[in-house]
Structure formats: C-alpha cells, structure tokens
Amino acid sequence: MKRDSYSLSRRDWLKLSAAGVVGYSMSGWLENLANAAAQDPQRKRACILLWMSGGPSQMDTFDLKPGTLNGGPYKEIATSAPGLRISEHLPKIAKFGDRMAVLRSMSTKEGEHVRATSLLRTGYMPTGPIQYPTLGSLVAKEIGSDEAPLPNFVSVAPTRFFGVSGFGPGFLGPQYAPLVVGETNPFMGPNQGTDQSLKVQDVDLPRDVDRAHAAARLDLLQDMESEFVAAHPGVAPLSHQTAYNRAVRLMRTEAAKAFNLEEEAPRVRDAYGRNLFGQGCLLARRLVERGVPFVEVTMGGLNGGAFGWDTHQGNFDRVKQLSAVLDAAWATLMTDLKERGLLDSTLIVWMGEFGRTPRINPQQGRDHFPNAWSTVLAGGGIKGGQAVGSTGKNGTAVEERPVGVSDFLATVCLALGIDPSKKNNSNVGRPIRIVDKSANPVREVIA
C-alpha cells in the first residue's frame, strides 16, 4: 500500500505557513514545470477524446456522398489536404485536414446506445462480471504520473446517468477513476451555467476553518484510516483513501486553478464557443498544458444534454447546428495547441458510439448504423491528410479496409506510444490485454 504523500508535505507546508507565505501552495513551480514540459522534446504524449454522444452521422460530416439518393443536401468542401473533402459545415476544422486521418470504414456490431458506448470506450462488450476499464483509465495508467497534482484522467460532461458502464476505471481500480466536471444529471436543478459547472466544486477550505486545524484534521483522519484499512482489506476503503489523497493534492497546489476559465481572455472563450462543449475543449487545452495525459470532452448536444447526435428526426437541420458548435471548438483547440507547440504531442480522437443510416427515414432523420461509419484521429502521432477505408458509392457497407473497435483502439494506443498487447490484472483473476489480441491496427495513419 502506498505511503500517503500529503502527510509528508504537511510539514513543509506548515513551515511555509509559519514563514507567512500566503496560501498553501508551492506557488510558481507548477507553471514553470508546465512550460518546461511543453518545450521538452521528450514530453510524453497526451490524448484528448472528443466524444460525440448519440452517434454522429458520417454521411453528413466526414464521409459525404453528394448527389446520391441518400446523400442529403450538404455539399463537400476541400480541406487543407488535397483530395480530402468533408462537410461544408465544418469549414474551420477543414483547415487542419493535413493533420487529420479520417477512418471511413469503422464497422462494429452494436447498435444500442448504452452497450455501444461501453463497447467503443472499453473495447469489449459489457457483458458478464468483468468490469472493463474505459480508454481514459487505460491511458492514464500507462502514461500518467502517480505524483502529479492533477488527476491523470479528467472527464468533462460525461453522460453517465444513462449507465456507468464504460465510463469508469473498472478492474484497474479507483486510482484510475476520472475527475469529472460539468456532469449534468437528472437530480440537479436548472443548469448552473458553464463557468460554475466546469469548476471542481468544494476545492477550497470553508472560510472559518483555519489551515492549522485543516492540517491537524487530515493527520487524525490518516490515523483512523490506516487502522480501518488494515482491518478491512478490499476495494472500498482503499478507494476512499485514494480519493482523499488526490482531493487533498488538488486542494494543496495551484492545480485546481486549471479549471478557472475566467483567466482566459474573452475573445479566446468566444472563439471556442460559449457552450459546454466549447468551454470544455478550452479546459482540455489548459489541462493538457499542465501535464494531464488524458482529457475527454463529451458533446451531448448544443449546450450540455446527452445523445445530442442521435438525429432520428430532422437530421440535416440538427447536424448543421451541431457542426457549428463542433467546428468552432475543435478548430480553436487545434489552433491553440499548435501555437503552444503541443499539437505534435497531443492526439485528438473524434468519435461516437456508431454512425447513422444512409437511408433517410420519413422524419427526415437517420437511424443507428454501426455497419459503416467514421472516426477521426488528429495531431500527435498521426500521419494526417488522408482518409482510410471506403464505404463505396452509397455508404451502405464498408468496401475497403474494415476497422473494428479493437483495430481502432489499438491504433490509438500506437499513436500514443502504448503497447496495446500489454496485460492488466482483471477482477476475475484473468489478465486482460489493453486491446483484444485480434486487433489489426491501422498502421497507415501512424506517423
């Protein structure tokens, strides 16, 4: 069992406090560290997952079939990569065509939201007793640091109240659970407003608790906890301890300031888009700048919500609106990362749980379609400017280079410098690979 780090630092902290240093952070060093990290060529990779909840329509985003029976009204536009054309409603991100690889031949078997979400996010079907970890937890374990002040995995606005499977650390344990912000769920009242909801709540000491007592409390708690954990081996008390350790770490340092979006200039916040997804992408950039290796930002709708891309009705109007939000946020994210020299070391993954039917239904919508759909990989580790795989003239089936969920996740691992065949111990005793061994990664897109 690991030695808890916070009680060591408490002594340093008390010294600082006694010396009259205001605040209980080691101010300054974190910023320096982040800057150094950005310039360091050995800098570890980071990953930002843009999760499109509901199943985005590939024929109206990255794999258009204009002029065909089911093509719909959208036109194609050129991107900065010759030959690569995408939806006219994604003009800003089109400028980064040379940095993105579009996988047009995704083909999976699950067409129900909750199961498909779990499948795509863990690589395994959510059946039986095994608790498969989500991608963020797997990556956090491989490339995260145990000593980092910020958690290694942050999840912005996940749509978990539809089912927790596929959103947690599973058998990897509570240490790899995400810090969640911006979560909406049915018990909460009217939207708090994006600023408030993207902050880490309760990270400051209450006003009338002085720091000396706060430190004394933690010491006493530590005594109690070690006795209890020793007498009660198991996940639950360990998880409690881990959560507290990380919570204290978050409180102790400047780390939580990453979540203060007010520090950004208004025009920057406007560029990302004043909605939950846009501001979530801004937050992702700030977290990656500060060394967080995995951030996922869920787009559940135009401003929060869930399954917003599930356009069974009014597909074309809806996708146009969603595309505008997506375009602004994603393109600004890419621009910012590039300006900060972080694009080469940050992998961006764009995906949902499945695609949508070529056939347009009577409500002018498209329905679930896992048979042939698209995902996009961009940024670090990716050979951009290309589309892999084809769904033929009508998009009704994959014609070339099918990519299953394991193939896809193995590709993500390789782009991040992670070995997909590495095994972790599962909760049923059997070691389980990060990605199933049948995986055939799309090496053509790996830089």
Binding site: V164, V200, L220, M224, A231, H232, H240, A243
Partner: protein, 537 residues
C-alpha cells in the same frame, strides 16, 4: 453474541414462567431460529470445502449499525445505540430487527431498494421521472405487508388504461393505478422492454442480449425472447410528444408479436418452453403473471431469495444477481434452494427471510479480517464492506449531525424544474460509480464534498445547532464523554482505548489553536469523513 451465564439462566427462566411477556411483538416462531441455524450449517459446510476460517462474531455496536443500515436505511441515533448496548436481554438483537421491520423507515428504505430495481437499468432521464410514483406504489404495498408474489402479480397485470376518461391523479384507485402505470411508462410501454425488465427483476434472468441475436452466454435464443415478449404484445407503445405522455392502449387478449425487421410472427410461450392454454377470452398478462409467480417456477423464488441475500451480504449466492439464466454456478446451491423453498412455504413473506438472515451467525460475523480466506466474497467468512446508496449516505449524515431540513414547497421535483434541495444535491453527488456494492468507490468530488462542502462544514462548525452544538454545550460532560458522544452519533460505537489515548489529550490541549471546542469540532469532522462512516460494515 453474549451467552447467559449459567447461574442466570434458570433464574430468568423461572421469571419468564411467572411473568407475562413484556413485549407483545410479532409471534416468535421457531421457524426463524430454525432457518437461521440451517443457513449457518450450509455456510459452515462451505468453509470446510474452501478451507475458509470464519471471522469472530460482531459485537453489539457493529451489529446495531449494520442492521439499522440494512433494514432501516440509516444509522442509529446515539441514544438508540446507548440503549441497545446497555440492554442485557439475550434476544435483544432479534427484537431489534422485529422493531425495525415494523417501523416506517423499513418501508421507506425497501421501497427505494425495489424502486431502483424496477427502474430501467440504463437509468435514462425520462425513466427517473417516474421514480417517485414507483417508489410510493411499492411503499404502500410494503406497509400493508402484501406478500411479494401478490405484489408482482399485481404489477404485471395492472391496468394501464383508465376505464373512463383521463387518468386520475390519486394512486391506488380501484381499477386504475398511476403508480403501476409509471413502471410501464418508464419502459416506454414497449413489450420487449417490459418483458426484459420483468425477467431481470423477478426471475433474475437477463434476456436483453437475446433481443437481437442468440444470447452469447446462455441458452436463450432470439425466437424465445420474442415468444416471451409476446405476452405483453397487447400494450400499445406511447407516441413521443413534448412532455406529455399519451394514454396507452391495452388489448388484453393479444398474444402474438411480429419480430422487428422480419416477417416472423410468434406466439406467446413461457420461458421453459411450455405453451399456455388459451381459452375463449384469454387474460394474457394474468397468465404470464401466474406462471412467473407459481411455486414451482424455477427462477422466481430463487431469484427473490438471492436478491435478499445479496442485500444483506453485499453479494448474492449467485453473482451477479441477474445471472440466474446463465451457467453461473451458485456458491451454495443447497442453501439457495432451501431459502427459496422457505420463501414459498411462508407465502413470500419477505420479512420472514429478513428475520432469519439477520438471526444467523453468518450475518453476525464481524467485518474485520482475521484470515486471508475471508477475502473471498462468496465464502461468507466475514461480513463484507458494502457501499451506501446516496439516500443512505444523506440519511445517515442527518442522523449523525442532527440536521434539520427546511420544509420544501410543493411543485416539480428537483431536476425537472424544481429547485435543488440539500438532499437532492447530495443524491446527485453520491450516485454510485460502481455497480458492485462490495467494490464501492469514492470519487474525488465526493471526497471534496465531504471535506469542504457546506453540509459537513455547517455540521462541524462551532455554530452548529445539531449534534456538535449539543455536545459542546453540555456542561456536565468531560472531554472523554464528549468524544464518546460524537463517536456514538457518527460511528455508533464508543472510542477504543487506543483512540481515547490519542484523542483525549488532543482535545484537552485544544489542537493547534489551544481551543478544546475547535478540537472537538476537528474530531467530529474526522469521523464524518472516515471510511468507517461512509461504509456499511
């Protein structure tokens, strides 16, 4: 459990013969003690087979807290603990259970347990809208001590269309029941959804996979699924509209269904393959309900017994609890069969099983580990740690801190337009992050909420009007007694010697600022933030 000293036994017996019983509780059939003993025998046989060494018995403090949480859904108050610890009667543990089973908290707690079961597993927002109605439907029946099988039959055959005109808003009306309708509406009135739900909840058989293709892990074929769903084919799914739910239709005599995306029409057939005998005017759902709850149905009684076992032990004899339809083996097959048989024999009186389980030595083992073999969950060699539901967390905090909530106005519930209450904010923060109660996980945000959030801050502030305030203001207590009062309120036990050795001096010295009042507040904060508080052990 303490046994009587030899001298006292005959004397007490003599007294008992002379005096009438002091407590007119429910009759104490030997059946409870009998079944408890049989449970223990089966489990003990399991120890031998596994080479497991059982933990020692739990002491009274551990027992009262555990039983309060499991039965009543919250921790006991300090004075309830004091009374129980001081009570010298030999059967006090069983009488405690009897008392709790007659109380309102039992019905409230178990209404929530069944509600969570009855709601669709994917927890979508629309379904949660129906949660309060489903909960109150169950609560009414629990209060009436309705036998479980009757309750299930009532739900499965409930009218979903009012006989005349729009639905009445009063629940439990003669023919039309808003609460039962809520269950159907939560499942979108789709035959396949209701069928899956009924099978999962009441039979412990998870059929969902077989909806689209033959089940990968069990013997269920796709056709079988739809033959079973056909029992609900008379229900007309509601049309989606903004906000409102259109009234459903129910053709009670229909028993065939077309498998979606095919031209195949199948007839209703029971899961065990038997064909129902349809008369002239068949009551289709009633036929299914009777098959499902029949004493010889291979799943119903076992699934129910298994669920109850899992509630009290954290893990079922078959785990996961909805795996009865697969190859998963029960850890103690004869025990499960015996519990099922007893349920049937006692006409599905769930309270009987609760009494027997809580009276068993197995249930009363401590949760402190004394041997590695006790870490195997299904050895049941010690009590496993169980997570609390969000409601239990909040209700236990309220019990410990003496919090008084301001009365809320009526109107839409929180999350659907109504304002957040302290309670609803808690419920949302403490939603479970793991599906397994024995692997309960605390998140960073929950930790921060308990450490710095307003509720605990208020309860541990010097201006507190609840428990801490009372302890600080009591003039006739010394520091040790004040500390014990805080321990009793938060952890349902007094301090252990090593804790007293640490904390009494801490409080006397007054902590970093030399103020004993602040030091006491510190200790209370620590107790409320501990694993021992947030877990059921």
């Amino acid at each position: 459990m303490r046994s009587l000293r030899w001298g006292a036994g005959p004397a007490l017996l003599g007294l008992a013969l002379l005096c009438p019983p002091l407590h007119a509780g429910p009759p104490r059939p030997d059946a409870v003690a009998d079944l408890a003993a049989r449970i223990d025998r089966h489990i003990a046989a399991g120890y031998a087979a596994r080479g497991a060494v059982p933990a020692p018995p739990a002491d009274d403090a551990e027992y009262i807290r555990r039983v309060y949480l499991d039965v009543a859904g919250h921790t006991p108050s300090a004075w309830e603990v004091r009374e129980f610890l001081a009570d010298k009667s030999p059967d006090k543990r069983r009488r405690l259970v009897d008392r709790l089973l007659e109380g309102p908290h039992y019905t409230a707690n178990f209404a929530r347990v069944w509600r969570d079961l009855l709601l669709p597993q994917n927890n979508n927002q629309t379904a949660r809208f129906f949660a309060p109605q489903i909960e109150s439907w169950v609560r009414v029946r629990l209060r009436e001590d309705r036998p479980y099988d009757a309750m299930v039959r009532e739900l499965l055959t409930a009218a979903v269309v009012p006989p005349n005109g729009p639905p009445r808003s009063t629940p439990g009306g003669p023919a039309f029941d808003q609460g039962a309708l809520a269950f159907y509406q939560a499942n979108e009135l789709l035959p396949e959804n209701i069928a899956s739900a009924a099978s999962r909840i009441f039979l412990g058989v998870k059929l969902e996979c077989a909806q689209c293709h033959d089940h990968p892990f069990a013997q269920w074929k796709k056709n079988q699924f739809w033959e079973y769903a056909a029992f609900f084919s008379g229900l007309r799914p509601q049309v989606r509209q903004q906000g409102a739910f259109s009234p459903a239709q129910d053709n009670g005599e229909r028993h065939e269904i077309k498998i979606p995306n095919t031209e195949t029409v199948v007839q209703a057939r029971f899961l065990d393959g038997k064909q129902p005998q349809w008369g002239d005017k068949p009551k289709v759902r009633k036929t299914l309900a009777e098959w499902m709850t029949a004493p010889d149905n291979p799943y119903f009684a076992r699934a129910t017994a298994n669920r109850l076992w899992a509630h009290f032990f954290g893990v079922g004899i078959i785990d996961p609890v909805d795996d009865l339809g697969t190859d998963t083996l029960p850890s103690h097959p004869e025990l499960l069969d015996e519990l099922a048989a007893e349920l049937v024999k006692h006409r599905f009186d769930l309270k009987f099983l609760v009494r027997a389980i809580t009276a068993s030595k197995t249930y009363q083992l401590t949760s402190t580990a004394t041997h590695d073999s006790q870490n195997e969950p299904q050895a049941f060699a010690r009590m496993l740690l169980k997570g609390l539901t969000p409601e239990q967390v909040f209700d236990s905090l309220v019990a410990a801190t003496g919090y008084r909530e301001r009365p809320q106005g009526r109107g839409m519930p929180p999350g659907f337009g109504g304002p957040n209450t302290v309670r609803s904010e808690f419920l949302s923060k403490f939603a479970n992050a793991s599906d397994k109660r024995t692997e309960h996980q605390t998140s960073i945000l929950q930790a921060l909420s308990l450490m710095n959030g307003k509720f605990v801050a208020d309860a541990t502030g010097l201006q507190s009007e609840g428990t801490l305030g009372a302890v600080l203001d009591a003039p006739f207590l010394d520091n040790r007694e004040r500390l014990d009062a805080l321990y009793l309120a938060a952890l349902s036990r007094p301090m252990r010697p090593q804790e007293a050795a640490r904390l009494v001096p801490y409080v006397t010295k007054g902590g970093p600022s030399g103020d004993p009042r602040k030091a006491l507040a510190d200790v209370f904060w620590v107790l409320l933030n501990s694993s021992e508080f947030i877990l059921n052990h």
